[in-house]
């Protein structure tokens, strides 16, 4: 059972699985979006008359036609189509619906827009300068969001310090690069409202936002999800403009409308992880004790906010709970710029800060002549601890993870010149009370079909990370039936409970527990029903009934197949099958207070990654030799799935560290495509060894914890730390490309010169 995969995998290997782009409906029109060529400008005039006359063009809309109010995830700073201004190159200005792609493209070319270009701000620094042009009326200084996070007395910490270490780090904007570009079909009808066929990680949350924009009650917007070709956070909210515009076009034309993003649009108008700059300063004792850390963080919001204030919150606080750091002073600022609006990517900002903090710790270790492993072991958070922000470590195997990673990579081994090892560790939540205002748990229904099979109904999403399989395993374990008897029904907001979906690494712990409870409640119901309905069981004590291998078994050995119970129960209920609901609220969690203090997740996952590299000093090229990824994700329910998460997450972390990153020139994305934005290929990856410390968690279903997001994080700092160990070259600006390593080696910062 530990390697169980449900039969959906067969749909994928045969090419039968239907993704958004594969959908076709009778009378379907093709929708296309016209985007701004300017990073900042006033819209003076839009003339769509020529476009409307093109044969095959059914509808053309602009912001003025829509009279839509502003919306947003955190801040209502967006409109479906720009009305007064455009704020980045790619900003949506008009949309068309036509018969066929050629007509749609022609229509776009025929729309005449007159712009008055405005001065653009290209970086947060520029945007914050006095007198800089402002993007949004409500934010005259372009400062979208700001936070001061203080604990203890940082000033005193600096006074008490034996050693102070400081450095500046930067990390570029990074694209989720899922292989399936966003594709949606919107179908409006007067009875149902609007149905949008598109794959989303959080269909319900997204539904409510989009329904608000469309002026529909949420129950009149239905989201039906085909298979998803990767999401990694980028499809939690996805491309809301696409869904909104397709819906509006369908509502206006009365026909289904499909909008499919090109890969280039995914780069210029998707929501990548933000570019960020971190100025850090740490105070320590000469025995390695961390006294305090001061951080000044600048985050590029891009032109619109979306979920960035939430991401910025995680970015600015998460890593403080990885170690005991009693004194903190963090200033984090999120700033509007005339660039691609930013969003979320696996780990939600955790990785951005982790790269910088874990690099700085190595620099600190170097400064006091301490082993980077030992300095971490000395200060790291442990089982039972409460972190400086109030996170309670119900289960924590972080020290063991660090030691295991170090041991497996051969930490103490003598190595030839130019070879080295690096290490980094990480903490992540399993759900987050900040995720949604109404509740932070999950619910599910378990339904016994008349043939004894079981359907689990939940809104939690599987897009290849194995949610459906693990849920089936959980329910199968409770009910003692084969997992293949279970189907997960999740892809339709009209028939599933409101679920928060796949983000904050919550689905296994929280969603999985809801499934477990629903299955347990179903088990109770099955026993009760059997006791009431079945002649031969009427006098049996239902307490002594057991579910064994798909049968109901009495203490005396009488066995009744589930099928029989199901059918009798259904008939007794006039046709209603046996259904049981399960609700799960993560225990003891609290919302964070104004100062950011609170046990925001029921439990936390940990990881330590170590990598061995060889540096070619002549060119700065780095050969990754092997990587060890040690994870504390509690008991592992599914080995194959968990390993897959590690291999995949590490490849993303490696890409982040080595080759990825948006290149901008005055607001223009210079690398909006896979030929110029490089992600790792099969030839780039080193051998990866995943190790799971199966340290049973008291909260998670069967002792399991989430693993899906944390996998990307520690590889990034481990890589730059390894380069420093191998060659002395310290790269503080990602990506650590060969050129950067070369110059760090030959000109710039060498280890031992840390200030």
């Amino acid at each position: 059972m530990k390697n169980y995969q449900n039969a959906e995998v067969y749909e994928k290997v045969t090419g039968r699985a239907v993704y958004g782009a594969d959908l076709n409906f009778p009378g379907m029109l093709v929708g296309k979006v016209l985007r701004s060529p300017h990073p900042h400008g006033k819209i003076l005039k839009i003339d769509t008359s020529r476009a409307q006359r093109i044969p095959g063009v059914i509808d053309v809309i602009t912001g003025k036609d829509l009279q839509q109010k502003h919306y947003g995830i955190a801040i209502p700073d967006e409109e479906p189509l720009a009305t007064e201004k455009v704020r980045y190159m790619g900003d949506e200005v008009a949309a068309v619906a036509a018969r066929g792609l050629n007509a749609a493209r022609e229509a776009l070319e025929a729309i005449e827009v007159e712009y008055h270009p405005l001065t653009a701000v290209n970086t947060p620094e520029e945007a914050l300068q006095t007198g800089a042009p402002s993007l949004h009326q409500d934010f005259p200084g372009n400062l979208t969001w700001e936070r001061y996070l203080e604990r203890g007395d940082m000033k005193k910490a600096f006074e008490d310090a034996d050693v102070v270490v400081e450095d500046s780090f930067s990390i570029p904007a990074v694209n989720q690069a899922y292989l399936e570009p966003v594709s949606c079909v919107a179908i409006a009808d007067r009875y149902h409202g609007v149905t949008i066929h598109t794959s989303l990680q959080s269909p319900h949350m997204n539904r409510n936002i989009i329904a608000g924009v469309l002026g529909l009650p949420p129950s009149r917007l239905r989201i039906v999800c085909p298979y998803m070709g990767g999401g990694f956070g980028g499809k939690v909210f996805g491309n809301q403009k696409a869904y909104i515009l397709a819906s509006l076009l369908s509502m206006r034309t009365g026909q289904p409308v499909k909008i499919q993003l090109t890969r280039e649009e995914e780069f210029i108008a998707g929501r990548p992880m933000p570019e960020a700059w971190l100025k850090l300063k740490m105070a320590l004792k000469k025995d390695g004790t961390f006294l305090g850390r001061q951080s000044d963080i600048l985050i590029d919001n891009g032109a619109y906010s979306a979920q960035m204030p939430f991401v910025s919150k995680t970015l600015s606080e998460r890593n403080d709970s990885l170690y005991h750091i009693p004194n903190l002073y963090t200033r984090a600022r999120l700033v509007y710029t005339n660039r691609v609006p930013t969003g979320q990517y696996r780990a939600y900002g955790n990785q951005v800060a982790n790269f910088a903090y874990e690099s700085l710790i190595d620099l600190a270790a170097q400064k006091i002549g301490m082993d980077p492993l030992q300095i971490r072991l000395k200060n790291c958070i442990r089982q039972g601890d409460v972190s400086v922000h109030g996170l309670k470590m119900r289960s924590c195997a972080l020290p063991e993870a660090l030691e295991t990673a170090a041991r497996e990579i051969g930490w103490k081994q003598r190595r030839p010149v130019n070879r080295g090892v690096g290490l980094a560790c990480c903490i992540h939540t399993n759900g987050n009370t900040a995720a949604f205002r109404g509740f932070s748990g999950a619910s599910a229904s378990a339904r016994l079909e008349e043939d004894g099979r079981v359907t689990i109904i939940t809104g939690e999403q599987d897009y290849g990370q194995g949610t459906h399989s693990t849920f089936a395993q959980i329910a199968a374990r409770v009910l003692d039936i084969p997992p293949d008897w279970i189907i997960i029904h999740s892809k339709d907001t009209a028939t599933t409970p409101f679920s928060l979906g796949a983000f904050a690494c919550r689905q296994l712990t929280i969603g999985g527990n809801a499934v477990r409870i629903a299955a347990e409640n179903l088990k109770k119901k099955i026993k009760e029903t059997a006791g009431k309905q079945l002649e031969n069981l009427k006098h049996e004590n239902t307490e002594n009934l057991e579910l064994k291998a798909g049968k109901l078994v009495t203490a005396t050995g009488k066995a009744v197949p589930l099928e029989k119970v199901a059918r009798q129960g259904m008939y007794a209920n006039q046709g209603m099958p046996l259904v049981a609901d399960g609700y799960y609220e993560p225990p003891e969690t609290t919302a964070a207070d104004e100062s950011g203090y609170g046990h925001i997740s029921a439990t936390y996952s940990f990881a330590a990654h170590a990598i061995e590299v060889e540096v070619d000093p002549e060119t700065g090229e780095v050969t990754p030799l092997r990587l060890v990824a040690v994870h504390d994700s509690g008991e592992i329910i599914n080995q194959l799935v968990s390993e897959g998460q590690v291999y995949g997450g590490v490849s993303q972390g490696y890409g982040y560290a080595r080759m990825e990153g948006y290149l901008f020139r005055e607001g223009e994305v210079l690398n909006p495509g896979f030929h110029v934005y490089h992600i790792p290929t099969s030839l780039d990856m080193p051998p990866v060894k995943p190790i799971f410390l199966e340290n049973k968690d008291p909260v998670g279903p069967f002792g399991a914890k989430g693993i899906g997001e944390i996998v990307q994080v520690p590889s990034i700092a481990a890589y730059v730390n390894a380069i420093a160990d191998a060659s002395g070259a310290r790269v503080t600006e990602l990506p650590a490309s060969p050129e950067k390593v070369f110059f760090a080696l030959n000109k710039g910062k060498k280890e031992g010169e840390a200030r």
Partner: protein, 294 residues
Amino acid sequence: MTYINATTIAQALGALREQKGKARVIAGGTDLYLQQLPEILVDISGIDKMRQIQITGEILELGSGITHAQTFASSLLQERATCLSEACSYVGSPQIRNLGTLGGNVVNAAPAADAAVGLVTMDARAILVDCEGGNKEAPLEELYQGYNRTTLDNSREILMALKFTVHHPGEGSSYQRFSSRKSLSLPIVSVGAWAKVKDKQISGVRLVAAPLNPSPTRLRRVEKELEGAFASPETYRKAGELAREEAVTRDSPLRGSGEYRRHLVGVGVERALREAVYRAMGIPSEEKAGDYYQ
């Protein structure tokens, strides 16, 4: 018919002549297809004669319709035109290598084109025919005319074959490439080297680097300095230094700073020259373009 799959050279030329300048030649299409496709296309990838490797004595004629994959797979070319074989092994991806032809690589004239560097290192000559019955042969370098342009008129002329002398005993070549990742990338810098060694002295050498200019660049000054030099680490290092002086590189936001790329030219020349000399002398090399699978 606006897409003509020619099976013979005569048919292809005839089609071009008939269309009076409105048709264009397409080979693999992997470059052309990313640009605006012309209305009328004459596909020459099905002409068997243009995919042949013909060797007469020491002169090899490579049909320009040969794909990168076929070039890479030929054991004759691996042994006796090594830098070309290696260059082709890096182009794009297996899928691109199965479609893209050497002729297309030359005619598309991308400054970073791999096969072109391999060909210039082999001192290849281009054989062209036109639809009026004319034909000409010229050094490959003379074909280039600015960024992504050659003198070839795609509506009238076909690049038929590339012609070069294969390695004699005492000759060897190598291709060195630096790129941002190990597949699906253009090179940041690539270098081809061919060397002739007699009595441990370099009696002939060709060094080519890209992308420095619109076309592969012969480092002629370095070549001159190397004549008669002893095959030694000092020589390879010196070659690298001289190359750095001769190469002119610009900053490129996508590829890297001019300074770094100039440095890489030096490293590439040093390594390619050393490898070429080793091969010329029959010294077993540690380097391999990789498991030949196709």
